[in-house]
């Protein structure tokens, strides 16, 4: 870990995670405390970022919004990985007809544009954060399943997997001990690269009023709330927007750095052999 950029990125990420964890201690006000007499308050020492159209403290809402954003993308990525690891490794390991059927299902999911498909699922499942998470997971898993499958197929051919078979290891053990570590190390990097993208999805759907519902402090919702007042108070849209931008950028850069490190390690290992 001599990479200075990576250290900076991880400290920003740590800051984001800490503010999500300790939101009640950091935020000076409750994010839901309405004070209609003090609406659109300017930046003062008591309200660091001012107040919104209902007089709620913007800084507190942003801190609490971190929670929502992190929980929603972590839940999404968990669902995506769970789905794709199971489907991908079964398809890759079993092969044959099973593989063909699962991959055709993946093809069907891959043909639709993700946002449209997510809108469709929300239309079917209904509005709400849980449904948004399910919808985004459903639109992303196919891509991951294909990648998992291809890594499994590649690793399955390795001599040490044949050797493990000759040592009496069960199929499950071979998948868990020999194939999964390799799959996970690559898929987690891809997932980090994709986290930002998923976050934009969640925020975007919330902005459209399809995700997290109004009083909840969430960045997308905050932008949506502030939208009618864009002429008088554009800064209300700017603050959550900057937060989304920073978080997405941090996730993307970390993903890229990790990928570079992994590829360098892979390269040096291969040249060793």
């Amino acid at each position: 870990m001599k990479d200075k950029g990576l250290i900076i990125l991880f400290s920003i990420l740590a800051l984001i995670i800490l503010s999500a964890l300790f939101a009640p201690f950091i935020a000076p006000y409750s994010p839901y405390e309405v004070d209609i007499t003090n609406k659109f308050a300017p930046v003062t020492s008591s309200h660091i970022l001012g107040t919104d159209h209902l007089g709620r403290d913007v800084f507190s809402r942003i801190i609490y919004g971190t929670r929502m954003s992190l929980i929603s993308i972590l839940a999404t990525i968990f669902l995506v990985l769970l789905f794709s690891l199971i489907v991908g490794s079964i398809a890759g390991f079993r092969g044959g007809l099973f593989d063909s059927i699962l991959m055709r299902i993946c093809d069907v999911f891959l043909t639709f544009p993700t946002f449209i498909l997510a809108l469709f699922f929300i239309g079917v499942l209904g509005v709400g954060l849980v449904n948004v998470i399910i919808a985004i997971a459903l639109t992303h898993w196919a891509w991951y399943a294909r990648i998992v499958r291809s890594i499994v197929l590649e690793t399955k051919q390795k001599n040490y997997v044949t050797a493990a078979k000759c040592l009496g290891s069960s199929r499950l053990k071979i998948i868990l001990k020999h194939i999964m570590p390799k799959v996970l190390s690559q898929v987690i990097i891809l997932a980090t690269l994709d986290l930002g993208h998923m976050m934009l999805h969640v925020a975007g759907l919330s902005f459209l009023g399809l995700g997290v519902q109004a009083p909840t402090a969430e960045w997308g919702v905050m932008i949506n709330d502030a939208a009618p007042y864009i002429r008088e108070h554009p800064e209300l849209m700017l603050y959550p927007g900057i937060c989304i931008f920073i978080t997405v950028a941090v996730f993307n850069s970390i993903g890229e750095k990790l990928r570079d490190i992994y590829e360098a390690a892979q390269y040096s290992r291969e040249s060793e052999i």
Partner: protein, 251 residues
């Protein structure tokens, strides 16, 4: 112990537009390996030695013939039943580097089969692994080293220790010494001779190097283009060898 009858293996070249081509890799291979004896398969590259090994191990199916190991027909067994076969028949592969997971330490590699067959506790497994390491003459401080950080000879010793960990009766060595230099080859041959006495092993040695087979085996079978060209019992001497066998001896 191991009986192969009329094994034939055909590789079909499946292509859509050209003619179907089928290559006979093995034809009518029969032999019988008795308990306590060792057998060597000699032959050039492409003679079908490794395919034969994969068939014996049940990793590939033969088109014809049967492999019977300790009274069981290997090719009629399912995945879970093969596990019992591998308790008595182990294999050391050609390339030690590729036959072990590059992320594993020496300890991880050797404990894998022990975990599969026995229910020992952690410290018991560690004792067994240390015993095996001393049996193959590796020092204890290698225990937690990554497998990729060992030399070729050390890696092959780890592979041998791994194969011996389940106390097999038959050990298949598939070109196990080919990637090593002469001095280390000699060391490992000596080690294998000792282990043969110690664990009452039978070897099935597959090699293009006839000297290794002469040292370790009682019988030699010479394969050429998938058929058995010559077969000798070493104590009876090598009588009337075919020309290609003579060529190999000279090399």
């Amino acid at each position: 112990m191991l009986k192969c009858e009329n094994i034939s293996k055909i590789y079909n070249d499946k292509s859509w537009f050209s003619k179907k081509e089928s290559i006979k890799v093995l034809e009518n291979i029969s032999f019988h390996l008795k308990q306590g004896r060792s057998m060597g398969f000699a032959g050039r590259n492409g003679a079908g030695k490794s395919t034969l090994m994969r068939i014996i191990l049940g990793l590939e199916k033969a088109e014809e013939g049967s492999v019977i190991f300790m009274g069981k027909n290997i090719h009629s067994l399912k995945y879970n039943e093969l596990k019992n076969i591998y308790k008595d028949m182990q294999v050391v592969f050609q390339n030690p580097q590729s036959s072990m997971n590059p992320q594993f330490t020496v300890y991880d590699v050797i404990k894998e089969p022990i975990e599969n067959y026995y229910n020992y506790k952690k410290d018991e497994i560690k004792d067994i692994v240390l015993n095996l390491l001393s049996a193959v003459k590796l020092s204890e401080d290698k225990l937690y080293k990554n497998i990729m950080h060992l030399s070729g000879g050390e890696q092959q010793r780890v592979a041998i220790a791994r194969a011996l960990s389940v106390r097999p009766k038959l050990l298949i060595l598939d070109e196990a010494l080919s990637s090593l230099d002469m001095i280390i080859q000699a060391e490992i041959i000596k080690l294998l001779e000792e282990l043969k006495e110690k664990y009452n092993l039978s070897y099935l040695v597959i090699s293009h190097d006839i000297r290794i087979i002469l040292k370790l085996c009682d019988d030699i079978i010479f394969l050429e283009n998938g058929i058995i060209k010559d077969r000798f019992f070493i104590e009876q001497g090598i009588n009337n060898p075919s020309d290609s066998f003579k060529n190999m001896m000279i090399v």
